[in-house]
């Protein structure tokens, strides 16, 4: 027998997550190869609010301020939005597919993005919007192909869509391997892109990512009731007024768009999308009204912390952020799993 009483008070949970997010952002902004300073970052953050933005030169060096505003700040926000998008998408996919193993990449989005990026790199595209655009097209193209092949039957059995995604994903991965073998001089760039990360994030990138993620998370939050009902089964969801095909289609389109955009800029960062929704369910129960906003916060926090570690463990070199999320996240998740018995 499993009681559901072990859940944490939702009020405290969300207050805690909010606090952690603020502290996490502050810490992330304070650490970096250009110098660590809690007071400088605090002062820089507070200046526009209280002192106007002209006096920081007296207390904080101009170069530190530039790094702070144009490198660290957009990078931390990109980690926040990417983590939120991946975690929320993972939660939504797990509900739609009624499968705890589903992650944001089940429809082959990451392989599609990687293939797109790999093709662009092989063709000599460098810098600017070229590689992210190719990755975005690859991601969305793959999702579209999987929809076309699997969505019709998904009304009766979502596993068809899941398996279609896995099959297409494997095929694309094979194509990437072929590209790697045939272009040995580009292996490093392609592999580096595939490992994901937040170097060279700019405000212009955030202007694209932030609205997509914010609207996507809000839209999925709007659908939280339908997502809950889908986890009980299509028959029951239908009898309770859910338009199954419409709901699945809309949720998958929103999720795919969101994941495609973040993957295009940051690469396929694993672990967050699979695990964060489970941790939220442990803590708050499986109601998506709480799992979706909670996953957005927790995913954002985790990726901000992981990215801060990635760029500070062995400076000036950067570790792939996906390695950090898995290395530190997996043991934490295993402890939760052992204590709670069952996902």
């Amino acid at each position: 027998m499993k009681e559901t009483d072990g859940r944490v008070s939702r009020k405290y949970l969300f207050a805690g997550l909010g606090l952690l997010l603020v502290v996490g952002i502050w810490l992330a902004l304070s650490f970096g190869p250009a110098g660590d300073s809690f007071t400088s970052s605090f002062r820089l953050l507070m200046e526009p609010l209280f002192f106007g933005d002209t006096i920081h030169a007296e207390m904080v060096s101009e170069s530190y301020a530039r790094i702070f505003w144009y490198i660290r700040f957009p990078r931390v926000l990109m980690a926040l939005f990417t983590g939120a998008a991946l975690a929320v998408s993972g939660g939504a996919f797990q509900s739609v597919f009624r499968n705890p193993m589903a992650d944001p990449y089940v429809l082959g989005i990451s392989s599609g993005a990687s293939l797109g990026a790999a093709i662009a790199i092989v063709m000599g595209v460098a810098g600017g919007i070229g590689i992210p655009l190719a990755a975005f097209c690859g991601a969305l193209g793959t999702a579209f192909l999987v929809f076309q092949l699997g969505l019709k039957r998904a009304v009766f059995n979502q596993n068809v869509l899941l398996l279609t995604g896995i099959a297409i994903s494997m095929m694309l991965t094979a194509l990437i391997s072929l590209l790697l073998v045939l272009n040995s001089d580009k292996v490093e760039s392609i592999v580096f892109w595939m490992m994901g990360g937040f170097n060279a994030v700019s405000w212009s990138q955030l202007r694209i990512v932030a609205p997509v993620v914010i609207l996507g998370v809000l839209a999925l939050f709007f659908y939280s009731r339908e997502l809950n009902l889908l986890t009980v089964g299509n028959d029951t969801a239908h009898s309770l007024g859910v338009r199954i095909k419409t709901t699945i289609t809309v949720v998958l389109i929103i999720t795919s768009l969101m994941v495609a955009v973040v993957v295009a800029y940051s690469g396929a960062i694993g672990f967050i999308g699979l695990i964060v929704p489970h941790v939220m369910r442990f803590l708050s129960g499986p109601d998506n009204k709480y799992v979706i906003p909670g996953s957005a916060l927790m995913g954002g926090i985790l990726l901000i912390v992981a990215d801060t570690l990635a760029r500070n463990v062995i400076p000036p070199a950067e570790l792939p952020v996906g390695c950090i999320t898995a290395l530190f996240g997996a043991p934490f998740f295993l402890v939760l799993l052992m204590r709670k018995q069952g996902v």
Partner: protein, 270 residues
């Protein structure tokens, strides 16, 4: 003459290239307890799903209270009829209370939590189905019978005129079989609900069902008053077994006991 709550006309359903239901024309009358009978694979569940709008209708029509099923929105349908499916599996740890509360979805606003009325109805239904003490337990880890009672409670709180159930007592112990069937019967008699349920136990059909709808190999064999339709001859025709009709001395109601099977039938069964 009562106006049917559900009416199928020349309904055919084909799934994966196989025709499961063949030209079914039948009606469900209000306030009655219907049992759907038939051998495995005869189309009982498909009929239940198709009249609930879950399956694409190949040909023919299904009318709900005079309106074509295809013209009803998902929400209108959800206020009309509740469905207790055969499979009540669960992937995540929703508590029994949360799952029963889902039954109030068609009556609740998207943006507000459950009102006092919703909570009251959920508690009532959980008490009636004997699962109030399990309200905090995760449905995922419940026994099959407990899950079935949670699904029935969820259908009850949906507060619809029609309740469709696919083998709702198949996994219940004897006590809960009787209490759930009595509860459904009471809903028909006192609250004028229409219950349409697949049941396999012929004596439960005789005891509780006002009317029966009988299927064999995707075709409608009969739809009528239980004691007029069910006979040893019909049982032999539909199920290919010999059952003897008896009368209960205390209630005066008919019941069936197994009679010796012919050698051909036994060979078929073995």
């Amino acid at each position: 003459m009562l106006k049917p709550v559900i009416q199928a006309h020349n309904l055919s359903i084909t799934l994966d290239g196989k025709q499961i239901l063949k030209h079914i024309s039948t009606a469900v009358l209000p306030g009655q307890f219907y049992a759907i009978l038939g051998p495995n694979g005869s189309g009982k569940s498909t009929f239940l799903k198709s009249i609930s709008g879950l399956l694409p209708i190949g040909s023919g029509t299904v009318m709900h209270g005079g309106t074509d099923l295809l013209r009803l929105s998902a929400k209108e349908l959800a206020k009309n009829q509740a469905l207790v499916p055969q499979n009540n599996g669960m992937s995540f740890d929703f508590s029994a209370y949360e799952v029963v509360m889902m039954g109030r979805t068609p009556h609740m606003s998207r943006f507000y939590g459950p009102a006092r009325e919703d909570k009251k109805r959920v508690e009532e239904a959980m008490l009636k189905t004997g699962i109030w003490s399990l309200r905090r337990q995760s449905v995922r880890t419940m026994s099959g019978g407990e899950k079935q009672r949670v699904a029935i409670a969820r259908a009850l709180v949906q507060d619809t005129l029609v309740i469709l159930l696919d083998e709702p007592v198949s996994q219940l112990d004897l006590y809960h079989q009787i209490s759930i069937l009595s509860l459904l019967k009471e809903l028909c008699e006192k609250r004028k609900k229409t219950v349409v349920t697949v049941i396999h136990d012929i004596n439960q059909v005789m005891e509780y069902a006002d009317r029966v709808i009988v299927f064999k190999e995707g075709r409608l064999v009969a739809n009528g008053a239980t004691d007029k339709v069910i006979s040893s001859a019909l049982i032999r025709k539909v199920f290919d077994v010999n059952m003897e009709r008896m009368i209960n001395d205390n209630t005066g109601k008919p019941f069936f006991i197994s009679a010796p099977q012919s050698e051909v039938q036994v060979a078929g069964l073995v």
